[in-house]
Every structure is written in C-alpha cells, then in structure tokens.
Symmetry: D2
Subunit: 151 residues, 4 copies
C-alpha cells in the first residue's frame, strides 16, 4: 500500500522560508480524505448521504520545518471510533530522510443535514463498517503497523 504524499508548494511557504504552520492542518485533511477513499468510501459519498463530519478539535506538535519542494509522507491512524466520535492521529515525515516534521490529531463527530449528531452505526452502516475496520487494523497490531498507509 502506498503512503500518502504531499509536495510542499511555494504558495504554502511564508517569509520564514518554510511551510506556514497552518498548512499541516490542511494536509491532515488531505490525508484523512485519501484514507477514506482508499478504505472504499470517499468523503463526498458521506455528504451525498446527507452526513457531514466536522472537526471538533485539532492539535499539532511541530518538530522540524518543511522547505519548499520537499515531499512529506503522512501516516494516519484511526485511534478511536465508536460511531459517534472519530479520532485520527497523523505522523508527518520528510520522504528522503524520514525526519519527523510533526505529529497531530483530529477529532470528529457526525451531523445530519439539520446539524444534529448522528451515530454512524444507524445513520450509515457502510461508513460505520469502514471506520470500524480502519480502527481494528490499528488495535490488532501490537507493533502499531495497522494503518492502511503502512506497508
């Protein structure tokens, strides 16, 4: 399985001559959406079912800085999922050196079109199964190699 990769763009840099810290939050989203797509159900299908999955909280610890042109590899892991709440962690490393760029976490809920919280188990069995599988991969593996992005 391929690892998710993002190439740092010029427009993502700031005058510190590195990628602006807010972009990592966007890269987490890119990676999360790709994880769903590879898991079999893209995020656009969730919205088509009338469910949105907003970010409830996000955090990021920056270890080293990413330069323009560098490629980073991002590994997402479903840390928690119970149908109501979803927690995903992210590890961002530079492709060549594998140097850690940052780690972070995003927490999500699921809302219907009226903005009411829903339990995916009832509201969307397909997505419920997919996230459960992704979470299982994580916990099955004592070596923590369960991410669908890991080889």
């Amino acid at each position: 399985m391929e690892i998710y990769e993002h190439k740092a763009q010029y427009y993502e840099t700031d005058q510190m001559k590195v990628v602006h810290h807010s972009n990592y939050i966007r890269w987490f989203e890119e990676c999360r959406i790709e994880m769903m797509e590879r898991g079999g159900l893209g995020y656009e299908k969730m919205e088509e079912e009338g469910i949105i999955c907003p970010v409830v909280s996000v955090n990021c610890r920056y270890e080293t800085m990413t330069k323009f042109g560098e490629v980073v590899q991002i590994i997402p892991t479903v840390e928690k999922f119970n149908g109501i709440r979803l927690v995903i962690s992210y590890e961002v490393r530079e492709k060549e050196t594998k140097e850690l760029r940052c780690t972070g976490e995003s927490s999500h809920c699921f809302l219907d079109e009226k903005g009411r919280p829903v339990n995916l188990r009832k509201a969307s069995p397909g997505f419920y199964t997919m996230f459960s599988e992704l979470a299982k991969k994580h916990f099955q593996s004592a070596e923590n190699t369960g991410s669908i992005f890991r080889e």
Copy 2:
C-alpha cells in the same frame, strides 16, 4: 466614505518575503463584497435569493510588492453592468505612500440555483438597481471619482 483597507498578514507572505500574488485575487473579492455591503445589499442576500455571482475571468498586473504588516487601500470601480454581466476594476495602493501595488479586473455573471444565467433586472430588481447606481457613479464623474470608496 471610507476606503476599503486590508492589512497584509504573515500567513499571506511567501518565501520571497512579500505577499504571495494569489492573495490579491482574494483581496479583490473582499473589496467587492464590502462594496456590495456598503451599497446596501450584501452578497449573502444574493445567495439567499438563490442567485450566485461567479467569477468569469480575472486579471491582475503587479506593480510593486506588499510586505507583511503593510496596509493596502483598495478602490473598486464598477466598469460595466447590464444585468447579465458585471465588470469591476480594482486599484491597490499602500496606505502610507500611496504607491501602486497592483491593478486588476474581475468579470462576473449571475446564475440561478440550477446554474442557468439570469438577468438581474428580472431576477433581482434590488441588486439590479444597486449595481446600476454603482456603475452610474463611475460614469457620472469625468474625473473618475465615482467609486463609493472614494471620498
């Protein structure tokens, strides 16, 4: 009447140590939306009426570069409006020195919820009148001081 102002943010800079050129396109939008609000009808009201006003084309000629922390003043002018097509020009100057940063232009149409072009004269007389007034101000003034943002 106040001139529209925007302060250049750190996250808008790139590693050239000036504001990234794509942000001016966003500033044009900020200014255009503020012009509508000051004209009496905010853009959100247009969307509430089921009409959107997408950008059909945009251009920008960059004269000098904007640094982090500088305040720019933007003057929008309604160059053309016939109910079907709207053309707005923009002049961006640094606040203190009045040095020209860039000039640009955006062209717009009006679409209903099904994506079909509409004539504002029928589809929304309120907005039709507002844009007509803004355009008139421009043409009434041989000295070209017709923008509602000019004093």
Copy 3:
C-alpha cells in the same frame, strides 16, 4: 482598549458553508501579531533583530461554526512566558451574540538566525519586557480580565 476583530471572508468558507477549520489557526496568528503591535513591538521588529518565533504546537477546540460575513472577536491571553517559551490562549466569539466559536492555544519558542533557541531575556530585552508585561496582566487579575484586548 479595542477587541481584535476579523470578518469571515467568502474565500475562507468551504462547501460545508462555514469557515474552514484551518482558518482559525490563521486568525490566532493575526490576533497574536496584533497583540504584539498594540503591546508596542510588532513582530516585524523581532525579525529585524534576527529572531523568529515559530509555533511549537497549536490546538483548537471548535464549539460552533462561523458563517460568511460574520465578525468574530478574538481575545488572546499570555498564559506563560519565561523568555524561552511563550504560551498564548485564544477565545473566539461571534460579535453580535457573543456565542463561543472556539478556544485554542499556541506555544512558541524563539530562535536566532542559525535556528538556535535563544532566551529573550538576553537576546532581546525589549521583547522580554513586553511579553512579561502581557503575562503579568493576566496573572494580576483574579477575574482574568488581564488581556490587553479586554476592556
């Protein structure tokens, strides 16, 4: 003292029809930079002294969503400062209703031009004094009204 305000822009929304969550991280930066400016020493002066102040970690808990055109008020508080590490918290509320949009925190260090950590007490007494004053305001006030942005 004025509260820091930001108007939610159209280009900051996403197809969930609210402001994209990554933008709050950028608003924290806007507010932080404004706090420094009002404190007497703008961030550009720090860079002129050869010191940068990167973000070491950031987090945000989203409570409610911000719509296009809404104005939010942001209150920053210097939670910790010892010359080496700076921690600022943020409270974002919608201007009219005062509804809480989100709370967050950013943690920072100080680096010289070679990327080595510095203690502001030695490296820049001016900034050291300013941040100390901002932190003192916070702790002096049992009612937690110490932010320079609070009235």
Copy 4:
C-alpha cells in the same frame, strides 16, 4: 511524458460548493514549478543562484467549475521567452471528461537579490537554455503539441 495533475482538495472549495477561483492561480504556480523541475532545473535552484522570478501579471478565464475530489490536468506552454520576460499559458481540464475548466496566462520577469531586473542569458545560462528549449518546443510544433507535458 506525464501530464501535471492536481486533485481538488476540500479546503480549496468555498460555499458555492466548487473550488474557489483564486486556487487556479496557485495551481498555475504548482504546474509552472513542476515544468521547471521536469525541464531539469527546479525553481529552488534559481533562488539558490540569487535570482527570483516574480509574477508580473496573471489572468484566468473560467469556463466550468471544479468539484471537490475531481482531478484536473494542467498543460503549461512557454509562449514567450527572451531572457528578460517569460510568458506561460495554462490549460486546465477535468481528467475524466477532458472538459475545459479554465485557461490562463502568467507573465514573469527575473530579479537579482537587490530587486534589479536581470537578463537570464547572462545571469544564468543554465536557466536561459532551459526556458529557450521549452519555448522552442512550442514553436517547432505547428500542431501546438510542444509542451513537455503533452504525450
């Protein structure tokens, strides 16, 4: 030769439920930088040589809208190059249907570290040769299939 591709991200959409128009200007940059890299000399090498290549003007004509998750293909063509001025055009199409999303153009100059215009022929023969080759490909081909991104 592969065509340059970009996948439309969620954070690139706005509440019109399509990609915000300013992002195409950023995609032009992505594509331009990739073109240089494939041509043998990445943009970071130019900056290492003390030369920057700012955008002097840009324009974009939007034909159809890009939705979240769609992949667009971008074809850049070096329209003009004389060592002092560089003009590149872009054609953006949706990958599956080949539907035209937009066309645009960016114009560039070259500046040294003091901000003075330079002629690449003298200032950087390597880059001069590369851009000349890219321009030649365009003019050699009456069928206009000269872009290095075309098969």
